[in-house]
Symmetry: C2
Subunit: 404 residues, 2 copies
């Protein structure tokens, strides 16, 4: 008789954003006249750049003609896209990453959920706390996290690295050595970034201890400070201990188009086992490539015109970040992030819990954000707002905050 994977049954409640969606829907149903402003889930609101739209139309037309029709994509991505990524995202920044170390996928969420498959079931993961829930949940499903304690909100085989206002949201290097370290920089949800010398410490630690770093750089394009690295491969020795995950979602508005990639350097080895070959095997066995038309859309952002358009797009959202950060500060709230990142991480006022503050904002000013505790126990007492709304809604939301 078949049995289910009981690790799935250990997961408490539903996925954070599903819970929020349900609460908001219930509120809206009870209050159909209220205009809700959503600064919760990190979804973009601006249309796709013109270069992307043009590339999509052109590629669709190719699919209408037998002479230019494309069937299955190469498992690991079209060469034109892998070459463009290697040049613009790495070689031009001085990182020695080759095209064939880049694996094109349907997005950073898939890759960050699937990457854990490459590792032994008894490996121990470390995460910053708070953290993007996918890292922990995907490891729970694989049986790597032990048991959940509902009182602490923690799994007993996970190394948590608290990131709070007290340490400037930069955790200490862990005392108990983990096997796999997840780092997301610029950070979701806290908006923290690290300077190169600080990031180098993590790479050195991983190389020294034999740990591997899964580096999620989905928000790389939001960095404007010159001393903040865009890729972990800007650090020395990173090619021996780091996998980097990237996304087109926030860089170019692809949340509904689905495109991302993962870098697995060929030098990344555990004994004779090549992580690069293993990831290629996974792609070949369980994935059939991102759509041709979407890969052409991805290529388009690397043209001169494309770069200009995505800079404008990111600039639009960063103006929202400024409006939120300055508006909340002037209204007396304490907030962090929003400088090299599209997230503003605020302290809840009057020692309210994160969910209390969520309900309070929804009820009083009809603004939706994300409760910090949804990202981990050290997120309790914090609240995340995103810069991905429209200018109009963002300004309106901040005016409403000022009435509180």
């Amino acid at each position: 008789m078949y049995q289910v994977n009981t690790n799935y049954l250990k997961l408490p409640g539903s996925y954070l954003f599903s819970t929020i969606a349900k609460k908001v829907a219930a509120f809206q149903e009870k209050n159909p006249d209220k205009e809700i402003i959503r600064l919760g889930i990190g979804d973009v609101t601006q249309p796709l750049p013109k270069v992307v739209i043009d590339a999509l139309h052109k590629a669709v037309d190719e699919q209408a003609d037998a002479k230019t029709f494309k069937g299955y994509s190469p498992d690991l991505g079209y060469q034109f896209l892998r070459d463009a990524i290697a040049k613009h995202d790495f070689k031009d920044r001085g990182c020695d990453i080759a095209s064939d170390e880049i694996f094109v996928s349907d997005g950073a969420k898939s890759d960050s959920g699937n990457i854990q498959e490459l590792f032994s079931e008894d490996n121990v993961i470390a995460v910053t706390d708070p953290v993007y829930p996918v890292y922990v949940d995907s490891n729970v499903m694989a049986g790597r996290c032990g048991n959940y304690d509902p009182n602490t909100g923690m799994w007993d085989r996970v190394v948590y690295m608290p990131s709070t206002a007290e340490n400037g949201f930069v955790p200490e290097l862990p005392e108990k050595t983990p096997d796999i370290i997840y780092l997301c920089l610029p950070n979701n949800p806290t908006g923290t970034t690290l300077k190169k010398a600080e990031l180098q410490k993590w790479v050195d630690y991983a190389n020294q201890k034999g740990s591997i770093i899964i580096f999620d750089a989905a928000y790389e394009h939001y960095i404007s400070s010159p001393d903040v690295p865009h890729s972990i491969y800007e650090c020395e020795g990173a090619k021996n201990c780091c996998i980097e995950i990237r996304s087109f979602s926030k860089t170019a508005g692809f949340t509904g188009l689905r495109l991302g990639y993962t870098v697995v350097p060929k030098s990344l080895k555990s004994g004779d086992a090549s992580l690069h070959d293993m990831w290629a095997r996974r792609h070949g066995t369980k994935f059939n490539g991102a759509p041709y038309i979407v890969q052409r859309a991805g290529e388009a952002i690397f043209s001169e015109e494309g770069q200009k358009e995505i800079d404008e797009l990111v600039g639009y959202y960063m103006e929202n970040a400024r409006i939120i950060r300055e508006g909340l500060s002037s209204a007396g709230f304490t907030c962090f992030g929003g400088k090299d990142a599209p997230y503003i991480w605020m302290k809840t006022p009057d020692n309210m819990s994160s969910w209390e503050f969520f309900d309070y904002l929804l009820e009083k000013i009809n603004v939706v954000g994300t409760p910090g505790s949804g990202f981990g126990p050290s997120g309790e007492g914090y609240f995340r707002l995103t810069a991905f709304g429209t200018h109009e809604n963002t300004k309106k939301a901040i005016e409403r905050f000022k009435t509180l």
Copy 2:
């Protein structure tokens, strides 16, 4: 120190189609003047139907305007597509499947590779032999298959169900009860189909033994015989023991566009554990939906015009199947399938091995097919040809076969 998932290292050689691609590339390099005809990998060659192209252009234009822009898709698929699938693929055929039992994905390969995650690591799988390699390989990666014997080409924890000319390519119900049974009908690679009464036996067996059937119906649209079921849910009791996987790849030429879906009925339970809820959780955690534009393209094939166009498309390929089947038979070869399926499964002549015949065809007539042994030990001595070429190339290939 991190350790890799050693199950990956047990996988022998590379993925079947990668090996073929390398052999063909090497031959072409040595013989640049030879015109190779590819009837190997099951990739389509005809352009996308007009309704699909129109739907894509329209959806792309929506993505260019903030008022109609769509970001993240619902994790489980857009309602418009789930409704269209539930109506056309199930309710219209008398199957009681609801929209919310349909999970839209980026393709049947992903789903058939990922579905094993829902089950306990010590569950035993059964596969027909020969079989689509993804079922076994994805279970090997999860540690469910034991060890590989290079002499027999078999894994010691897998139940193989030989399907050969001797049993009409319909295996016996397994004596040793497996937990998870993979069935692909119409079958890849043998082209076999089952009548409803025969399929009902498998459903009854699964319900009686407490096994679950993973039913891959990717080639459903190639069925023309009236007594062959298109969905396993046409059988009584299937909603208690079956998951069905479907694809838009061969039905509508979506191999490069990527769209599929999996049906997990809400009545499918192991004790209190709902497979439906577990699969929803997997989607929510490790997947971010198929692209909006591609889901609109999928919806388009369910219109009256869309149905007409995909019937013509499938008719085009089935005409190739007829050309191959009749041509090879008249040339004295023994072949099977190709009636309700786009695959022709032929016996190699003169007791040649599958790979010997592959090399022989490539060398002598520059035609590429797929060695039967690549699909499992019982595929030895057989060879697969696909109907997905152009009429012109298919006819030319058959003329070349006649010169042998």
